[in-house]
């Protein structure tokens, strides 16, 4: 399980670094509202990843389920919040949510080229 915990830690760290960097860049290039929308999405993505992580850790416990509407519901709530709030924007929130995928890709590439 040490491998798994190390992977989790690396991905969390990568997400935080990417999100912080992107927040600053978006804040300067666009507006604070856009940057905050991105940050909201990135926070939601982190929460989503944590929920996925806990589901995967519970595999083999017997009565626990892997799926469930909670993770996808989190995304739906996040997007509806961005749409209905008026000050937040949809696309930055969505891209913020996708930061977790970027972090996974970065980690996979690092592992791939680290092994060579």
């Amino acid at each position: 399980m040490a491998d798994y915990h190390a992977l989790r830690r690396r991905i969390y760290l990568t997400v935080v670094v990417i999100a912080a960097f992107a927040f600053v860049v978006i804040g300067f290039a666009y507006s604070l509202n856009t940057a905050l929308s991105y940050l909201l999405g990135a926070g939601g993505g982190l929460l989503y990843f944590r929920m996925l992580d806990r589901s995967i850790q519970s595999i083999g416990d017997g009565d626990r389920r892997l799926g469930g509407p909670a993770r996808v519901g989190l995304f739906a709530v996040l997007m509806v919040m961005a749409i209905k709030s008026g000050s937040l924007e949809i696309l930055p929130t969505f891209f913020g949510f996708l930061t977790i995928k970027a972090a996974i890709l970065v980690d996979t590439l690092r592992t791939l080229f680290g092994d060579v």
């Binding site: 992977l7 850790q57 595999i59 083999g60 892997l66 995304f75 739906a76 969505f94 996979t108």
Partner: protein
């Protein structure tokens, strides 16, 4: 928004999220069952198996999320409303 556009948007939203959930649902079920089998056979590789499962499930679930995004946009920020 006229009635036909509203009805078409609701049907499209339902189809988008429903169809987008089928493939990832089957894929996630297969991946999780194989991972559980793998952990049972090789408990010493548990960390690697769970890690691979985490990454693959994250990418599989993004397909459902794309469908959900389309349906949310159709329902709450419809670009075709007149």
């Amino acid at each position: 928004m006229n009635d036909i556009t509203a009805a078409a948007s609701v049907i499209a939203a339902a189809l988008a999220v429903g169809l987008a959930a089928i493939g990832p649902g089957i894929g996630q079920g297969n991946a999780a069952s194989k991972a559980a089998e793998g952990i049972a056979r090789q408990p010493e590789a548990e960390g690697k198996i769970r890690g691979t499962l985490l990454l693959s499930l994250a990418f599989m679930e993004s397909l459902t999320i794309y469908g959900l995004l389309v349906s949310i946009v159709l329902l709450f920020a419809n670009p075709f409303r007149g």
